[in-house]
């Protein structure tokens, strides 16, 4: 009898557990999406946050975007879809989750993790229909900035371009947020600032091996990267990318020494606290991603503190986060793949792009092309008031236009400070973006070497005791 009651107890638990999962009927497509935290519009805006654009669009986020997608998908394709939305903290966490058996259909890793997943043959190619720009609903292919599309098409892993496997979501640069009252633009335009002892304990560095490695590498190669001979090379961008992906043993040990200097000099290695430390004035300069730089600059301006953002002259890191579909999740289910591709198109819809950019502060890869919504939003957000006396013309046509050059077709008229502030961080000028390089993924062996170097830097040094 006792045994019976135990079995009964377990049975009750099992019923409760299984009841939670089994409510959906068979027609519904379940799409498991994993994204970064705070990286999509979750809705719930106040009424006064309504964005009224020049082209007549009024945009406001009421519901979480993935719920809006379910509604839109049913209206457009007549198929019920249920989005199971979850979040990961870092690319490494996401990768660990995938290897430990969590199954997702659509995830949004950063450039190097996309490359790693591609190299490990874990991704599904987009269907040809996804690239058909005749189809009205293909917002991604129709709307992605040609500049970004080119980068996605030109970069290859094992002979296949990224563009076939991944669709961009947000992009940006890395650089230095600084307080212009204490640090000049020239100083901030030099990665050397991070180990400059005149700012001892007044600068912060990113607490992850890749970003830290990148800045130290730029310091190590500074003379070469800035030499006229190098900058004027015809294949400057390829050569730059090659230099910034140098992982030879000599380079790694040189980088280790530079990182030790930086550790001695820095206030802290941080992932999140740097933003607040910058606003409260604890530190004067902060190694930052462009999207967080926008956030920091805006938070500070609410407290009447002016902060600027600069991509150092040696080189900045050009990064992307992009959507990829996973083999382990889709399992060749065409309905799922269709829903996954539609999800990418839905978040690439111009009004949704604006919602996301407003909500999270990062820059979307979508330019809008025949739709001016995204540009109008940038103009609405960064443009100067009519009564401003001094303004500059900030040309972003390399991003919004067809060619990767500035031809005056897309110009934001803004107050001069904006070019060094939030606008410059959100849409870097063409000059800046030319000196940015994509940092590729390290293969397992190299990554272990670099990570051991990083742990050496970060651990308490026994020798300092003696």
């Amino acid at each position: 009898m006792k045994r019976f009651s135990l079995i009964f107890f377990l049975a009750v638990i099992m019923t409760i557990l299984s009841a939670c999962g089994d409510k959906e009927d068979a027609d519904t497509v379940v799409l498991r999406v994993c994204n970064w935290e705070e990286y999509i519009d979750e809705g719930g805006w106040d009424d006064d946050e309504l964005i009224e654009l020049e082209n007549g669009r009024n945009i406001i986020g009421e519901n979480a975007m993935y719920h809006d997608f379910e509604e839109w998908y049913y209206e457009t394709y007549g198929i019920k879809v249920k989005v199971e939305y979850s979040c990961a903290g870092t690319n490494e966490d996401l990768y660990n989750q995938l290897t430990l058996g969590d199954v997702f259909d659509l995830v949004c890793p950063s450039d190097y993790m996309i490359m790693k997943l591609m190299a490990e043959d874990k991704l599904v190619k987009f269907s040809p229909a996804f690239f058909d720009i005749e189809d009205e609903e293909n917002y991604y292919s129709r709307g992605v900035s040609p500049y970004i599309r080119k980068i996605f098409d030109e970069n290859e892993i094992d002979g296949e371009s990224w563009g076939e496997y991944s669709a961009g979501y947000m992009w940006g640069t890395t650089g230095i947020v600084y307080n212009p009252e204490e640090i000049t633009r020239t100083q901030a335009s030099n990665w050397e600032l991070l180990r400059d002892s005149s700012y001892k304990r007044r600068v912060t560095i990113k607490d992850n091996v890749r970003d830290a490695y990148f800045s130290a590498l730029a310091v190590y190669k500074r003379d070469k990267l800035l030499s006229a001979e190098f900058v004027e090379r015809e294949d400057y961008r390829q050569a730059l990318a090659k230099e910034m992906n140098d992982t030879s043993d000599d380079t790694i040990s040189a980088v280790e020494e530079i990182l030790r200097d930086m550790k001695e000099n820095a206030y802290s290695f941080e992932t999140d606290s740097g933003k607040a430390d910058m606003v409260t004035g604890k530190v004067l300069a902060n190694y930052q991603w462009s999207g967080d730089a926008v956030y920091t600059i805006e938070q500070a301006s609410e407290d009447d503190v002016e902060l600027y953002y600069e991509v150092p002259s040696e080189c900045g890191n050009l990064w992307f986060d992009g959507w990829v579909m996973l083999k382990a999740g889709l399992k060749e289910d065409a309905r799922k793949q269709h829903a996954a591709e539609a999800f990418i198109n839905f978040v690439s819809m111009p009004e949704n792009v604006v919602r996301n950019m407003y909500y999270i502060g990062y820059t979307s890869v979508i330019a809008g092309c025949d739709d001016t919504t995204v540009f109008d939003y940038a103009d609405w957000y960064f443009g100067a008031d009519d009564n401003e006396e001094e303004t500059i013309d900030y040309d972003v046509s390399y991003f919004f236009g067809e060619e990767d050059e500035v031809d005056g077709s897309y110009v934001i008229t803004a107050v001069p400070e904006q070019q060094y502030g939030a606008l410059g961080a959100q849409y870097p000028s063409l000059d800046i973006i030319r000196r940015c390089a994509v940092m590729g993924y390290f293969d397992d062996e190299t990554y272990e070497k670099i990570n051991n170097m990083w742990i050496n830097v970060r651990c308490f040094d026994l020798k300092s005791l003696f």
Partner: protein, 265 residues
């Protein structure tokens, strides 16, 4: 049909919890600690722990932090717990709540506030990393030291103290010879609750000031490099250290109890 409900069944939820969230994860960690990338058994990770200057350096640094934190907590917490236990019953609960209230506020918020206060006092936190780590952790772990000592002190038989003074011991001697030895179980469980978290809780460090790894951050950095094996081995060694410490202290408290019984006779 009638369903029996014996009292034993009450432990089912906890047993389930124990198996799912305590025993199973420890087994997984053990598996990773003693295997290599190919899933073969190896002792390399164990050897690696004791031969790597990084792990040993971090272990020493973390132990130094944890030791100072534990001593500081003890020095602050014991008098507080003692005063609390001696105060009148009516006032006691109010006072106790004063010490527990900070625990109702999320600790990240508390540590962030502490950071502002310390910055106002010191100017720049980063110049005193060790001291600030100690202050931050002491601040956060103090209630975990106060509560066990307080609960032991409050349960102490008042007659024993009265007996001691009847027999001619002054207050100080009574405290030294009767109260202190009898409150040792509380002190020990307080130490257990403070020492290990102080070695591994790197979140406080991350919020306050973060440049030198403690054990927790070291484990984390191996995990984010997909190196489960080294990270797991570090966890296992820490686990072994704590386990050994518990065994030793248990023995100590057993002797203590035996002495009690002797005194009773």
């Amino acid at each position: 049909m009638k369903i029996y409900f014996s009292r034993k069944n009450l432990c089912i939820p906890y047993a389930l919890f124990l198996v799912l969230f305590v025993i199973a994860p420890v087994l997984v960690v053990l598996y990773y600690a003693f295997t290599n990338g190919e899933g073969q058994f190896t002792l390399e990770n164990l050897v690696g722990f004791f031969t790597s200057a990084n792990t040993i350096g971090t272990l020493i640094y973390s132990m130094a932090v944890a030791f100072v934190v534990t001593v500081l907590c003890l020095v602050i917490a014991y008098p507080v717990a003692y005063i609390l236990s001696k105060s009148r019953i009516k006032r006691r609960n109010g006072l106790l709540i004063l010490f527990i209230i900070p625990m109702w506020i999320n600790f990240t918020l508390r540590v962030t506030a502490l950071k502002e206060v310390l910055s106002a006092i010191e100017g720049n936190l980063a110049y005193y990393p060790f001291i600030n780590t100690v202050i931050g952790q002491t601040y956060d772990f103090l209630p975990f030291m106060i509560l066990p000592i307080y609960t032991t002190l409050i349960k102490l038989d008042k007659d024993l103290e009265e007996a001691a003074s009847d027999l001619g011991a002054n207050d100080f001697r009574t405290f030294l010879k009767v109260t202190l030895p009898l409150s040792m179980p509380g002190v020990i469980s307080g130490i257990m609750m403070v020492f290990l978290p102080a070695m591994t809780n790197y979140v406080i460090l991350d919020i306050l000031y973060n440049s030198t790894y403690i054990m927790g951050s070291l484990i984390g950095s191996y995990f984010s490099a997909y190196n489960w094996h080294t990270g797991s081995m570090i966890s296992i060694v820490l686990f072994a250290i704590v386990f050994a410490a518990t065994l030793i202290t248990n023995k100590y408290t057993d002797i203590d109890n035996a002495a009690d019984r002797g005194a009773m006779l």
